[in-house]
Symmetry: C2
């Protein structure tokens, strides 16, 4: 029976999921790796993949697709662009997996796009042909499904939602070198940045944070009545709503699926976000729904498997 493997490719490990053809996750296997640019590391990954399928009594011949999501641009033809955060020889890695799974089609995909495809397959976007997924994590990622198909873009920059300009007057720089990107306000680290700014402005003692992306603590401070946290979350929602209204004027999705770590606090900000979106967007697009993602940090694994399946 046809099965699929979806692989999250990270800087220090890969995480592989084994899927049935109808999208059921059968098992997961993590393999710690070094730089993915040599035969030794490729062999380690292949050994892990074989261990995964054997433990579920799946034959090599049953693996019809292997999808790999990477933290960087992948264009509409599946070509991997420059990866800033991981070392990967995409062609050699792909060849090594092909040699080990000769019956499988291989596909690379951007990690945020993979998450969107995963949600489209079996998650919050199930049955929707037009939706936008916005991943609020350390940064802000995105994936756009239009007419049932992913918009990868000419150089793989399709769905780079984190870099929609929402505040042209910003003086601080975004990681991309530009100013006023959504990511500067609505990512976990953006929320922390806004919170600290407001604490300083209001003379409020900032809470002890577990790191520069600890938005969870900011939401806890909000619940405890912190004025700085309230303003930070307000601004997070305000800028997110602006970006969503831009998206509606460009691709006009039926729903927005919000994912990433920040979505753990979705119930806290969903009403405010919805109100701000409806007040900002073009009249006919006000009915777009805003829902939380369903697959958590496994969405990318699902989506990369699905991406490989679409090649069949």
């Amino acid at each position: 029976m046809a099965h699929l493997i979806g692989i999250d490719v990270g800087g220090t490990s890969i995480k592989a999921g084994l899927f049935s053809g109808d999208g059921k996750l059968l098992g997961v296997k993590s393999v710690p790796t070094g730089a993915l640019d040599n035969a030794e590391e490729f062999a380690k990954v292949n050994a892990g993949l074989h261990e995964l399928i054997e433990s579920h009594n799946v034959d090599v011949a049953d693996i019809v697709g292997v999808g790999l999501d990477v933290p960087g641009p992948v264009d509409s033809l599946g070509n991997v662009g420059m990866l800033a955060n991981i070392k990967l020889d995409a062609t050699a890695f792909s060849d090594a997996i092909k040699a080990s799974f000769p019956g499988a089609r291989l596909a690379f995909i951007n990690d945020a796009n993979a998450a969107a495809l995963g949600e489209a397959w079996v998650g919050a976007g199930r049955g929707q042909t037009d939706f936008v997924m916005i991943t609020l994590g350390t940064g802000v990622g995105g994936g756009i499904i239009s007419g049932g198909r992913l918009i990868a873009g000419h150089v793989g920059a399709g769905g780079e939602i984190g870099h929609i300009t929402v505040n042209p007057g910003e003086t601080e720089h975004c990681g991309c070198g530009r100013r006023g990107c959504l990511e500067q306000y609505s990512s976990a680290s953006g929320i922390v940045r806004l919170y600290k700014q407001e604490c300083a402005r209001l003379g409020e003692e900032p809470a002890e944070l577990k790191g520069p992306s600890d938005s969870y603590t900011v939401f806890q401070r909000l619940a405890a009545g912190s004025a700085a946290a309230e303003i930070a979350i307000n601004r997070m929602c305000e800028y997110l709503a602006i970006a969503m209204s831009q998206l509606s004027a460009v691709v006009d999705p039926a729903i927005f699926v919000i994912g990433g770590g920040v979505v753990g606090s979705f119930d806290v900000f969903k009403e405010q976000l919805g109100e701000k979106y409806r007040a900002t967007t073009l009249l006919p697009t006000r009915c777009s729904m805003i829902v939380p993602a369903e697959l958590g940090n496994e969405a990318g694994m699902y989506g990369s498997a699905y991406c490989a399946m679409q090649l069949l």
Copy 2:
């Protein structure tokens, strides 16, 4: 031999083009009409269409598709939304044409999207699977082709480029009721508005204009050394570049096709626009080309015919 008809539906007339299956425009026929909601007007249109095909010795049976572009939203299923500027009973009109051309598939499409499809078929977007058309006319329209397919959107608001917010600090309202839309700066009437503002601010005597959308005269003033015209055109380009950079972060096109009346002055502003775009957009998207449209005000006729053909 298979032929197509593409129809521009306007408020006081329709303009129909007869096309060969490979996109050659064989003839054009305009028919003045009243409100398109009654049998008498439908009969007038049908009479005009029959006259058009007969004058080119084309049989009714050879007409395999009729496309109609309308100035308003059409969703991804071809449903016509609210039309502010024309009176049209889309279902009854469509039924009347079907009765007259029983072998033809009918399709409605938004006019700006039709222009993009037309350019994709035989114009400046020929051979491109990922491009954005921006129509700078009285307003700003747009059409997005991604992976070779038009993005109509869930409620037909896909490609509503004129309503991308480019200046959140704007105090004047756009026609859509919001503030800071691209249309307020980069349409023909936007250019005139900016020019008049700058004339007032600089104490410059404004040129006599032929109407509120006479951007041509503003470009003539620019050539004559007017400081107000220079600032107006600068701002037109600046805001257009911001919108284009937003588009690149969402759909990442290989090329931007600029159409509409303002494109008559493309040679005057193309360098400035290119520089501003490259300075504004995400690094990997800087290579997107910016080219003028090729089909002029016939693009919509071409595109609506092509849209009908895609249904075959």
